[in-house]
């Protein structure tokens, strides 16, 4: 029985001695990690692997523990906690950074107008009851018209109309309208993300399902547009063409106007001043006179002035000249 090797193993397991390292061990306390960049000694590695690994681990762990015990601490009810710094090693995230949520149509409008969000209380004050009633749900202000036991019939109302039913259908219509607007917002958000994707079309092949879907939508839009163009390319501008099933509706171009009031009046002021400047300089006029601008001198079209003067003189001198001119025109038209 040779126990020397076992004794050696035992001694190694209970040792706290560390190896000498030429280059210092790098520690990343944020990730509880240490990196010993000294090459592994081949002699030791070949001779007794596990003992050498233990010695290496002991060395690096000791330096990691040293750096961890040097960190600031805070005491809590459950004991002392060491505050870890942010990690230095960059490891990939699991998912991309969250994108800001696209604004809804209302949110965009509110932002433009500077309307701040007002929190709606769950309950509203009822003057008649002198009590708070819920805004929606059972017994709410929202359903008052449907749930009240007596309805006032105004003069001129049809005899068979049911006020409760009308109130309900109106409420349902409001809900439907809101849902439609929500769907529109979602569609708009998808469209905008698609156009953002078109800007960075460098991702090849590996597209997520959502990206693929928005790409498909875009392609579909493109095809429909080109189909509409080709349909109007006939002599009748597509008036007598046969309709295709599921043909997209022709949508005209909507004119867009500047908002009547903006959040800040800077832009408005500028645009007004622009108009004034244009008037002062006579930008439009100069452009017009450029057609026959050969005789232009200091804003005066000399050639035109001479021509005009000549006309006036002839008119003053005798009617014959004017009549002749008119006759000439007639001849041209024929």
């Amino acid at each position: 029985m040779d126990v020397t090797s076992e004794l050696a193993n035992y001694a190694a397991a209970n040792s706290t001695t560390v190896l000498n390292r030429a280059t210092p061990i790098i520690t990343d306390a944020g990730l509880l990690a240490a990196f010993d960049n000294t090459p592994v000694d081949p002699e030791e590695y070949r001779a007794n692997l596990n003992q050498h690994l233990l010695a290496l681990t002991l060395t690096s762990t000791q330096s990691l523990i040293t750096s961890l015990f040097g960190l600031p601490t805070k005491s809590t009810s459950s004991g002392k906690l060491t505050i870890l710094p942010t990690p230095e090693t960059i490891l990939p995230r699991e998912k991309p950074l969250p994108k800001p949520k696209p604004l809804t149509k209302w949110e965009r409008f509110a932002k433009e107008k500077g309307i701040s969000h007002k929190r709606k209380e769950k309950d509203v004050w009822d003057e008649e009851l002198q009590d708070w009633v819920p805004r929606w749900g059972k017994g709410s202000k929202n359903r008052q018209g449907e749930e009240q036991w007596l309805h006032e019939v105004k003069a001129g109302d049809e005899a068979d109309q049911d006020p409760a039913k009308t109130a309900k259908s109106e409420r349902k219509a409001r809900i439907a309208k809101n849902e439609k607007q929500q769907a529109g917002n979602i569609a708009a958000a998808a469209r905008s993300s698609a156009s953002a994707l078109a800007g960075t079309s460098s991702t090849k092949g590996e597209l997520s399902q959502e990206d693929k879907k928005s790409l498909r939508e875009r392609r579909k839009d493109e095809l429909q547009r080109s189909m509409l163009i080709s349909k109007t390319s006939t002599a009748s501008l597509g008036k007598y063409d046969e309709k295709i099933e599921g043909e997209p509706k022709v949508k005209g171009v909507k004119r867009k106007f500047e908002p009547t009031s903006t959040k800040d009046y800077k832009g408005e002021k500028e645009s007004q001043l622009d108009v004034l400047n244009k008037l002062e300089k006579g930008v439009g006029k100069v452009k017009k006179s450029k057609k026959g601008s050969a005789g232009e001198e200091g804003g005066l079209n000399v050639r035109k002035a001479v021509r005009f003067q000549g006309k006036v003189d002839r008119a003053n001198g005798g009617g014959g000249g004017g009549g002749g001119g008119a006759a000439g025109k007639k001849g041209k038209r024929r």
């Binding site: 681990t57 690096s60 523990i65 961890l68 906690l81 060491t82 997520s208």
Partner: protein
Amino acid sequence: MSMLRTIKPKNARVKRALDKREPQLVENEKTAIFVRGQSTSDIVRNVMKDLYALKRPNAINFSRKNDIHPFEDTSSLEFFANKNDSSLFVTGLHSKKRPNNLVFTRMFDGRVLDMIELGVDDFRGMDEFDSPKSSVGVRPLMVFHSDLFDVHPKYQAIKSHLLDFYNGHALTEIPLIGGIEHVISITAGPLLNSEDNLEDEKNLPKIHFRVYTLKLISSGNSGFKIPKIQLTEMGPSIDLSIRRIQEPDEEMLKLSNKRPKLDKSKIESGLGKKKKNIETDNMGDKIGKLHLEKQDLSKMQGRKMKGLKIRPNQKLTSVNDIVIDE
């Protein structure tokens, strides 16, 4: 992903659960899935069992065989990742060409980022070591030895992968006494022959994966001194050789390495996560809201009468004082 239907939340609980799966500013810990291929060996299964034990509780073990070959087709891995909202995979395989094969896969945004394939050359399981084991959920220390982890691209990939696997989620605070139990040691061997070339795939030195439990021995009676440590091997002890490595797509890596810009105050107050029931009023005082359970009226003290008096031997357990502070 294509096989998964998009779920429209029907109630608030489902919505919360789905919102948790959305990209977060400060991410949760990555979950690992351990899945076997069509044929596995005993060794591979045991290795996976031990790696799973170390990764718990952020790990899911698939007990059935799956026809998965990560280097040929990643679609099923992507499916599993999206279904289980996890981004780390260990696939165990065994074939004549690549015996005792382990494939580590890392995902980003539901797609494969990179993969490393390692062969198990030698293995001793956790139960072969007669020593105390670390408790579940305790964060290990990780140490890497060898210059190869600093310079060689393949070893860099392995370092990044394994570090991400066990310690990727950064903690903000940890109790040093009682919060550290074990250390994972990863060592790359040296070049055994001086004429060996690192360019040749066959000559790549092995990687030794060891796990030790750690004992802190305070050198004096003062608590401020840095303690000495003692290590005991707890297993598993795995010797690995490098096989194929699929490097990450550069664009994807760039995206995945992006870090959010967080205010310092935000970091201090919960790392960008919304703190519930805590607010600060206009005077700058912190106000906490406590939700107490319904009072147990059956134990309320009513009118005292001699007949209703509680005898000392049938005393009720004392009601704990509830301390509410700001």
